[in-house]
């Protein structure tokens, strides 16, 4: 039966090409959106995940990293350091700013961190070196691309000239990131003696939960999160707004695929109902004809999956290296398996459209 399916599929190559194009584009949409979603998921908290902190001390009531402001007095670090189990305390400022070069302006997240401890510093560097002194900055790849700056250039942040010493990986979801040492940032953004967060490392052998409880008991007006808790609430805050949109678009992509395959199958069935009737007259069972329709749909969907996979490599490459898309587009084995399963489901769903028509074809049509 497989050869019959293949023959029926390939005998009208134009129709097959149109169907494959539609299916591949639908699956390409699913592939791309899935990659963006996964990139979004990881990049949303890449900065927190790579902060090196065991826990975050934030102003009480600040629910997450993105949609809340946390202000803490800089001298609170002494109180934190005295709590049993605390190994190091590093202040962190994270604030919106404007970076500029050669007349081009770009809104950024500007982080001031303790360059000595390194907590809250840049993600792994792509090129250049870490900050070692004043008036230096590390920019992430997105900012480097948008302002066309590189190691050795000078960039202006809120009107202050900083030398670019390094370029880091993507870490900003809502805006590109620049990093400088804490003192520079305090001066540039006018924070005086305030900071936004304290990043805490716990001593070896100390329990993070125990230290967190001790910090809550010792300090007033703060909330304490473990690094993974802070990443979790921050990720949820971002994804709760965007995930449904991406999922809805993926669903629409899937539905488009089902309709493209299904309608093509259906119109093919209508056009060829005489041939199906002849096969029925010759003795083919309804079940076998339905299997033919099913296999045709699944073969189209799987071919579309293969083509879409190849196109995805091209599209993702274009987005990342030509357009400098600000979000990493990522895939893992689970997501590819899920898209493969979606393709099978798409093919199966599409076979349902012509199924009823096929089962009702009268074999006596062969005598007319």
């Amino acid at each position: 039966m497989v050869s019959l399916v293949r023959k029926l599929l390939f005998r009208d190559k134009t129709r097959l090409a149109i169907t494959l194009s539609g299916t591949s584009l639908a699956l390409l949409l699913i592939f791309t959106l899935t990659g963006i979603y996964l990139g979004f998921y990881h990049q949303a908290t890449a900065f927190i995940d790579n902060s090196g902190a065991d826990m975050w001390v934030v102003q009480k009531g600040a629910p997450n990293f993105f949609f809340a402001i946390s202000f803490l007095p800089a001298n609170m670090s002494n109180s934190i350091a005295k709590v049993s189990g605390v190994k190091t305390v590093s202040p962190l400022i994270g604030v919106g700013a404007t970076a500029a070069k050669d007349g081009k302006n770009q809104s950024i997240f500007f982080f001031g961190y303790d360059a000595t401890s390194g907590l809250g510093g840049p993600l792994p560097l792509i090129r250049g070196s870490s900050i070692t002194g004043a008036n230096q900055t590390v920019v992430d790849a997105a900012l480097a691309a948008r302002l066309n700056v590189d190691v050795g250039d000078v960039v202006s942040v809120n009107g202050n000239r900083l030398s670019v010493v390094g370029v880091s990986g993507l870490g900003g979801l809502l805006a590109p990131i620049a990093y400088s040492n804490l003192n520079d940032v305090q001066k540039i953004v006018g924070y005086g003696t305030s900071v936004n967060y304290f990043l805490v490392r716990v001593s070896e052998g100390a329990s993070a939960d125990t230290v967190a409880s001790a910090l809550r008991a010792a300090l007033n007006g703060v909330s304490v999160f473990t690094n993974s808790e802070w990443a979790g609430v921050s990720r949820d805050a971002v994804l709760s707004g965007t995930a449904p949109i991406i999922q809805a678009m993926e669903f629409m992509g899937g539905l488009t695929g089902v309709l493209v395959i299904g309608l093509t199958n259906y119109t093919t069935t209508v056009e060829r109902q005489r041939e199906y009737g002849i096969l029925k007259a010759l003795g083919i069972k309804n079940r076998d004809l339905l299997q033919i329709a099913l296999w045709q749909s699944i073969l189209i969907a799987l071919s579309g999956f293969g083509i879409a996979g190849g196109l995805t490599i091209v599209v993702v490459g274009g987005l990342q290296y030509v357009v400098h898309f600000p979000i990493a587009i990522l895939y893992d084995a689970g997501s590819v398996v899920l898209i493969f399963a979606s393709a099978i489901l798409m093919g199966t769903g599409a076979a349902l459209l012509p199924a009823r028509r096929i089962s009702r074809i009268d074999p006596a049509i062969a005598f007319k």
Binding site: L4, K7, R274, L282, N286
Partner: protein, 231 residues
């Protein structure tokens, strides 16, 4: 499948078949109490004008239509009482069909059109190809086997249809106006080929046709008029 004891040489036995289309004033009595029997090696012709009931008789004998009354046995198998789901297998294994319009699959070669019938019967791959070649050979189309059906002449197409009809070795061949779209010489050749197969392989053929040239090649002739056999 149900079988009943009867004369083994009877390939087709139709008894008291009646069929009416529509109801009331619009009712058309397509068949009225028609009976016929065809034996092994027999080529039987159903003659009659358009609308006389020939196609209805073929449809019923081919298990594609249920009679209102009467019954049909094919190769000792009582088919009129069988459920609808079992009939495709009867058609696949017991009956070979030849149509006026040839009804070959477009985009398929002559050989592939024959192979399809074997595939439907569960025979695939090299074995199917070998048997299909033999059937194509039998109808004298060895040199045209790999040509698309669209590239074949009418006579060649009908020969492919014969090969397809007999490739699963059915006992009964049902042919509807098999020479209607062929010229005189080609039509005679097609019928002679069919007759040879029927005689040599112990099959029976029921042919509906207007074509008077076939009458000389038929073993028996039944003439239908207004749904009844008149001779």
């Amino acid at each position: 499948m149900h079988s009943s004891e009867s004369n083994t040489s009877e390939i087709l036995k139709a008894e008291h078949l009646s069929k009416t289309y529509g109801k009331g004033y619009a009712a058309v009595h397509a068949l009225k109490n028609v009976s016929l029997t065809i034996h092994e090696g027999e080529l039987s012709l159903i003659a009659g004008p358009s609308g006389s009931g020939k196609t209805t008789l073929l449809l019923i004998c081919g298990t594609l239509l249920r009679p209102d009354e009467g019954r049909v046995s094919i190769d000792n198998l009582q088919v009129t009482s069988m459920n609808q789901g079992s009939l495709p297998e009867v058609r696949l294994k017991k009956i070979g069909f030849i149509f006026q319009e040839f009804n070959l699959l477009s985009g398929f070669t002559a050989l592939e059109n024959v192979e399809v019938a074997l595939n439907m019967n569960g025979i695939r791959g090299g074995k199917a190809k070998k048997i299909a070649w033999q059937a194509i050979d039998k109808v004298g189309l060895h040199d045209r086997a790999n040509h698309l059906q669209e590239d074949l002449s009418g006579g060649e197409k009908q020969r492919v249809a014969i090969a397809r009809a007999v490739v699963n070795n059915p006992k009964l061949i049902i042919a509807d106006e098999p020479t209607a779209n062929l010229d005189s010489k080609t039509g005679s050749g097609v019928i002679e080929t069919l007759r040879d197969i029927v005689k040599n392989e112990g099959k029976a053929a029921l042919i509906a046709s207007h074509d008077v040239r076939i009458e000389g090649l038929a073993d028996s002739i039944a003439k239908l008029e207004d749904g009844s056999i008149v001779r």
